[in-house]
Symmetry: C2
Subunit: 243 residues, 2 copies
DNA sequence: GTAATAGTGTCTATAAGACAGTATCAG
DNA sequence: CTGATACTGTCTTATAGACACTATTAC
C-alpha cells in the first residue's frame, strides 16, 4: 500500500467542507471532588457563545497536527502543561446546527490527570481557564453542544470506573491503595469495601510496588506505580453490590 | 442558548479544512460465517486506491446530511437497502497520511444486519459490492486505513458479544434461542453452554415471546422478539469459561 | 498506653459452568 | 418405535461482599 505525498494544502474540493475541531474533557480529582476543566469563551460578541463556559478545544490545524490524537495532545498541553496523560477517544459529534458558523464535526477525547501535576494556562482564545465540579458543570449550559459531550464523557468515565483501573491515572505516582480506593469512591459516589478492593486491585496485576510512602496518616502504606501507563486494565467483574 | 441560522454553505474559513468522511463497517452472519460488506474502488487510476476493496462510505454532504448519524444511515441504505439496523459509532480516525488527497478525518460506524433482510446495491462510486468473510477481510489490504478500521470494528464486536445482546441484531425476528446461541458461537468462534446461555438470555429480560416457530428442526422452538431495538443489553458478567 | 489508619482472615450467598436428564416433535 | 432437537434440573466451584480481626505507626 502506497502512502504517497500528503501535503500541506489539499487541492480545494468541489464541494463545501464541514469545520473540523477537537474538544477535550479533562478530568481530575481535587479535594475529594471530581472536576472538569472549562474555558470561558471570549467576550467578543462576534464570536459564537461569547463569555460562556466551554470545553477546551478548537480547530484542527492541518499544518501542525499529524493526526487527531496529536491535535488533542497539543491542545491539552496548551491548557494544562501536562504532557503525557491518560487520553482516550470518546467519539465524534457532527451536524448542521451545533456551531452557528456552519456544519461542523468535533472529535472528542477525554483525559485524566492528577490534580497536582498541572499548571493552568490562559490561551489566546480563552479569557479564563478554570476547574469546575462535574456535578455543577453538568447543570451549567455550556457553549455549543458541549453539555452533551460532557454528559457523555461523565457517563463513560463513571461506567468504566466500575470495571477498569482508570482512576489510577488520576493519581500522582507513587500512590497507596487507600488513596486509590478514595478516588474510586469519589468518582463512583459511594463507598467501596476495603478488603475486596485490595484483593481486586492486586489480583488485576497492574500495580508494581514502589516502597513505603510516608503519607498523610499514622501508619505508612505501600506505594505503587502503574506497570504500564499505556492503557487501563479491565476487571472481569463489576464493583456493584449484589453483582 | 440560541441555535441560530446554520445554513448550507458556511462562509469559507481563513484556513484549510480537512476532508470529512463517514465509513461504515457492516456485519452480518451468513451460513455460519461472520461477514463484512466491502465495495471495490473504481478502476479509474486518478482515484485513490483504484480497484481495491474498501469499506462503504464517503464524503459528508452538508446539504443532505443533518448530522453524522444521518449521513451513516444514508450511506448504509444506499448500499444495502436496510433502513433501521443496529448502528453504533465506533470512533473517528483522522490524519495527514490516511488519504493521498490530503488531511482527512473519517467518522466510523458499525452496523449489524440480518443477512436475509438485504439487497445489495451498486452505487455510483462503487464498481462492486460484496460480502467477504471477516477472517479473510482482515488479511486483505484494504484501501486507505480501512484495514485498521475493520480490525477495530471486529475487536469491538467480539468484545461486546462477550457481555451484551448485540448478536440479536444479526437475526431476523422472530428468532429462537438455539438460533441466537448459534450466532453467538459464530461470532465468538467457540461453543457456548446451552443451559447457561438460556438462563442468561432470559434473565437479561430483553426478549419477548412471539409464539412457536416451526423451524429447521424437529421440535418447534419458542420464537422471540427484542423488546427494544434501540440498544443492546449489557450483561453483568462475561461469557468466558472460568470467568 | 490510645488513636488512627494499613492491611488480613473468614464466612456466606450467589451465580455461572458443566453435564445429565426430560420433553416434544418428525418420520 | 427411533432420532433429533428443545428445554430443564442439579451439582460443584469460584468469588465477591460483608465484616471482624490484626499490625504498625504517631503521639
Amino acid at each position: 500500500m502506497t502512502k504517497t505525498q500528503a501535503s500541506r494544502s489539499p487541492s480545494p474540493p468541489p464541494f463545501p467542507l464541514p469545520y473540523t475541531t477537537v474538544d477535550i474533557v479533562i478530568f481530575t480529582v481535587r479535594d475529594s471532588v471530581l472536576e472538569v476543566l472549562l474555558v470561558k469563551r471570549p467576550a467578543d460578541s462576534r464570536e459564537p457563545f461569547p463569555s460562556r463556559w466551554a470545553l477546551p478545544g478548537g480547530f484542527v490545524n492541518i499544518d501542525l497536527d499529524l493526526d487527531l490524537l496529536a491535535c488533542a495532545r497539543r491542545k491539552l498541553q496548551e491548557k494544562t502543561g501536562v504532557v503525557s496523560p491518560y487520553l482516550e477517544q470518546l467519539g465524534s459529534w457532527g451536524g448542521r446546527d451545533r456551531d452557528p458558523r456552519g456544519w461542523s464535526a468535533t472529535h472528542v477525547y477525554f483525559a485524566l490527570i492528577p490534580s497536582d501535576e498541572l499548571e493552568l494556562r490562559h490561551g489566546a482564545n480563552a479569557a479564563d481557564v478554570s476547574w469546575m465540579a462535574v456535578d455543577r458543570a453538568l447543570k451549567t449550559r455550556l457553549a455549543f453542544d458541549h453539555s452533551d459531550l460532557l454528559a457523555a464523557a461523565v457517563e463513560r468515565l463513571r461506567s468504566k470506573v466500575e470495571y477498569t483501573s482508570l482512576p489510577a491515572f488520576l493519581l500522582r505516582e507513587p500512590f497507596t491503595l487507600p488513596q486509590l480506593q478514595h478516588v474510586y469512591e469519589v468518582v463512583l459516589g459511594r463507598p467501596v469495601d476495603k478488603s475486596g478492593f485490595r484483593t481486586r486491585m492486586l489480583a488485576a496485576g497492574f500495580l508494581a510496588e514502589a516502597g513505603h510512602v510516608e503519607g498523610t496518616s499514622n501508619r505508612p502504606a505501600m506505594g505503587y506505580r502503574l506497570i504500564s501507563r499505556d492503557a487501563a486494565v479491565v476487571f472481569p467483574r463489576t464493583f456493584s453490590p449484589r453483582g
